[in-house]
């Protein structure tokens, strides 16, 4: 969009909002993600616009006294008394946000969200489809109940980081969807530590007794905070192994001759050791090599397992 078209698009929102008693310049600026100075400039420009003739009511009447006090108020928005219909980008944003909300909503809320989706974004109905990894309905229902009733949850969790199934008793703190995957942040009662669980790996969640009073900690770091604080590893992989870059949201990935150089964030070293063994021949180097060495030890232990196994003839 050119600058002037963008300005017109803004005016088409600013004028109707400023028409009915007005709105603060700061509020407009925040809603439109521009500076207050820009909002003032937009409205000043609007005051020159209208029909020729110079009769009262021909031009858009911006109240300059109000404007000087940070208040946007327009007495005669002429034709701009309502905002323009939603653009496709605006409709898509609404639809995606609501569909995402719908998938983590408790039952009593889901129907109202569906009504909104239909009301506001019906025109994209068959065009956009959202499928998230949010776990089973039953698990989500329990989590929502546990959060609102402040109760604990007994989980059966298939942890991928360690590759084991655990049965922690936790107190849920936060539920969120990041990049299409729903996570639960909860305090593990046994260790007292806050942990992050992927909803689609929670096999079962049963309501337990009420949560103990805890003063701090629920606002703990999100997955992205943890990623930001994570170590990193630099892998050289073959073309066949380059999928890791996309699959794990590499910090950096670039081709180097026949190979790819990929830098991955490492939140959990068990995860990396498993990934390296999985890559096998597609991994050419790892820096630092520590986790590759642990993977080698694990492979050796696995080979001994085959040696120990009794062959039937």
């Amino acid at each position: 969009m050119s600058k002037s078209v963008e300005q017109l698009a803004r005016l088409a929102i600013e004028l109707p909002l400023a028409a009915d008693g007005g709105v603060s310049v700061l509020d407009l600026a925040q809603r439109l993600s521009v500076s207050p100075r820009q909002v003032v400039a937009d409205l000043k420009l609007a005051s020159y616009c209208g029909l020729p003739g110079g009769l009262p009511g021909d031009l858009i009447e911006v109240d300059f006294d109000d404007l000087a006090n940070g208040w946007a108020s327009v007495h005669n928005p002429t034709q701009f008394d309502r905002p323009l219909a939603l653009t496709v980008g605006e409709t898509a944003a609404l639809r995606l946000a609501l569909m995402t909300l719908r998938q983590v909503s408790p039952d009593d809320q889901a129907e109202a969200v569906e009504g909104l989706i239909d009301l506001l974004s019906h025109r994209l109905a068959d065009i956009i489809e959202v499928r998230l990894s949010v776990g089973s309905d039953a698990v989500r229902q329990s989590i929502n109940q546990a959060i609102s009733q402040r109760r604990g949850l007994a989980l059966v969790y298939n942890g991928l980081a360690r590759g084991t199934t655990t049965r922690p008793l936790v107190d849920p703190q936060r539920l969120w969807v990041e990049e299409g995957v729903a996570y639960l942040r909860a305090r593990d009662r046994a260790s007292g530590q806050a942990r992050t669980y992927r909803l689609d790996r929670i096999e079962q969640a049963e309501l337990a007794d009420s949560s103990p009073e805890v003063e701090d900690g629920w606002g703990a770091d999100s997955w992205s905070d943890r990623l930001a604080a994570a170590d990193s590893v630099c892998l050289t992989v073959t073309t066949a192994g380059a999928w890791v870059a996309e699959y794990y949201n590499a910090l950096d990935a670039r081709p180097e001759g026949d190979h790819w150089r990929v830098i991955l964030p490492v939140v959990n070293h068990g995860w990396l050791q498993r990934l390296l063994a999985q890559l096998g021949p597609d991994l050419l180097s790892a820096e630092p090599p520590d986790d590759a060495l642990v993977a080698a030890d694990r492979a050796q232990a696995a080979l001994e397992l085959y040696g120990l196994a009794i062959h039937h003839s």
Partner: protein, 367 residues
Amino acid sequence: MAQSRTERLVNLAIALQQSKRFLTFHEIRQMVSDYADQEEGEALDKTFDRDKEELRRLGFDIEVAAATAGSDMRDAYRISRDQSYLPALDLTAQQAVLLNLAATLWHDPSLDQGMSWALAKLDAVSRTELPTADPGLAETASTGDSTGEPASESAPGGNPPLAQSWALATGRAVDAQVMEPLLQGLEQAQLAKFGYHGRPRQLEPWRLATRAGAWYVLGYERQAAAPRLYKLSRIEGPVRLAGPPAAFSRPDDALIEQGLRQIEPPAPRETVFVALRADAGAALRRAARPVSPEQLADHRADQPGWITPPQGFAVWALGYARLDRVVSDICAEGPDALVLEPGPVRDGVIAQLRLVASWKEHHVQVG
């Protein structure tokens, strides 16, 4: 005084809206001083055409009455207000809260501006006031209006209100220069041109879909003359729209569903029996079913080469579509997984484990 371009566009929009009847350019020119200041001719006609195009892109519905002998032999125009403007919106109190909740919690770098602008527009036409972002509002939303009770029991002790306990992102970030034109092409049924794996593509886009955070677009690729699926993160942007809107019609849902099935992993065709250490190998077990000792005995009767799982291991039957994938997945489990059958999987796993074990000596050097 020369007008700014914005001023000219605003004046043109006002002129075209205030009249109930169609206006010829001759008439419009007298109402928009910037046009009046310019000489008539090809350059001015082009400016006028471009201005109309810009207004249309913003959402103004400009109607055209084709030239007739009665007029000055030129087309005439007006803006349909009903088609251009957002109608009044009636939301229940709960819907208003939920709309604001979705807008507050949801985040997508390529569509964030769309969201805040959408909300500002809806606020201007909503008969219900849209509450501003407030940490407490989500509690109202989650309890709903059904009970009529505020969620006050969660107030003491600092339990997080939902607005602070949720954050929503539908998918991984996509370049706005890919996302925006594709959305437009999808809605308008317009041809989209872009590069993918270094080759130019011409797609009639049918549907945008997410799977676990990744974005895909399915459509009909003209050169391949077949349905094709593209991952948005691999599209070499910007996407350009070409040709007129309504250039094609979408096929029925069944065909689209079939096309989207490519995103799903292929259906398993073979089965591997793998022994997993208790509570380990969660990634494998998700796609596997447990095998009882009786079933195991039955299998073993026909298969003399079986090995016995060690103590503390349970046997699982795991379906797979590709040998190399299942071998890699099992190797990831290290000493927590032991392949019993069939031979090719076991041999593959042992070979890869040997290679991984050799890293100890070679320190994982580029070979």
